[in-house]
Symmetry: C2
Subunit: 171 residues, 2 copies
């Protein structure tokens, strides 16, 4: 019986040094593991720590292997599988651009208002909205607004409650 595949959101805290992102991603690519979305940004500039959020789909066996390999990389401090860990918050950011005549733009403004998207730029004939939500919510907004261009961030995640993704103490 084939093991069920499941979508996992994994957060990794890494030393922000050249090539670390390439090594993390190479670990997926080298084994044919897929990355659905990825975000990376420095979260503690004083200590040069970056947090990588990865959404991937795989069997429990594959996910366990990914986590073990990630934890073995030298510049990796901590690996957290938020899907297994329990309750967490997942949000994504999208910028959507709508162009067209007056009617089209007014319709877009109405939909954006209903769906809590915010106008961040406007020019004659062109509006840009910023929306945050779960990936599904953003998909729904995009389906309704029918933008000419979309730029999305991928999933940003954080655990609920007092469990914190912390750096290991320096050796």
């Amino acid at each position: 019986m084939a093991e069920a595949e499941r979508r996992h959101t994994i957060s990794v805290l890494v030393e922000n040094e050249p090539g670390v992102l390439a090594r993390v991603i190479g670990l997926f690519a080298g084994r044919g593991y897929n990355i659905e979305s990825l975000t990376v940004a420095e979260v503690d500039p004083g200590r040069h720590l970056s947090r990588i959020n990865i959404v991937t789909t795989g069997t429990e066996f594959v996910i366990e292997q990914i986590k073990a390999l990630l934890a073995k990389l030298v510049p990796v401090h901590t690996v957290q599988d938020l899907t297994v860990l329990g309750p967490h918050v997942e949000r994504e950011l999208a910028l959507v651009k709508v162009t067209g005549d007056r009617e089209r733009l007014i319709e877009a403004l109405r939909i954006a208002d209903f769906m809590h998207a915010r106008l961040v730029d406007s020019m004659p004939g062109c509006l840009v909205f910023e929306a945050t939500g779960t990936p599904d919510e953003l998909d729904a907004l995009i389906e309704l607004v029918r933008p000419v261009e979309v730029s999305r961030a991928g999933v940003v995640a954080i655990g609920r409650g007092a469990t914190i993704l912390e750096a290991k103490a320096a050796a």
Copy 2:
């Protein structure tokens, strides 16, 4: 005289196939070019197109080289240097977690309200806010709120007006 380094925001539209992200990032890592932030997400599921937003710093010579190399990768459709192209919108998403006693949480709620951050999760002793803005605006929020944990997306960008990052027609 040393050439001035400058921060560039580059958007790349790619075929969403295994290994494409590894190749794009490998191109930076292999030459020691730095990636300040990176986001990737599918923007046109029907056509399997993903958009990668990369923020990098370099001299004009290095940036031109990066763009030329990116454009040569097979699954890459279009490369857009938004910094050179002119007016564009840059936004980032952050989730910030604050823990503490009643006083501490009420203070965080006040700061969040002033800075237009939105409460997305609350538990006894623990709040999670979602904030969007320029990277600088998020840095300022984080400095004021002093969260115990931060998860950020990296920069999402889109050009102003009618210039659109489009896929090349199929050969």
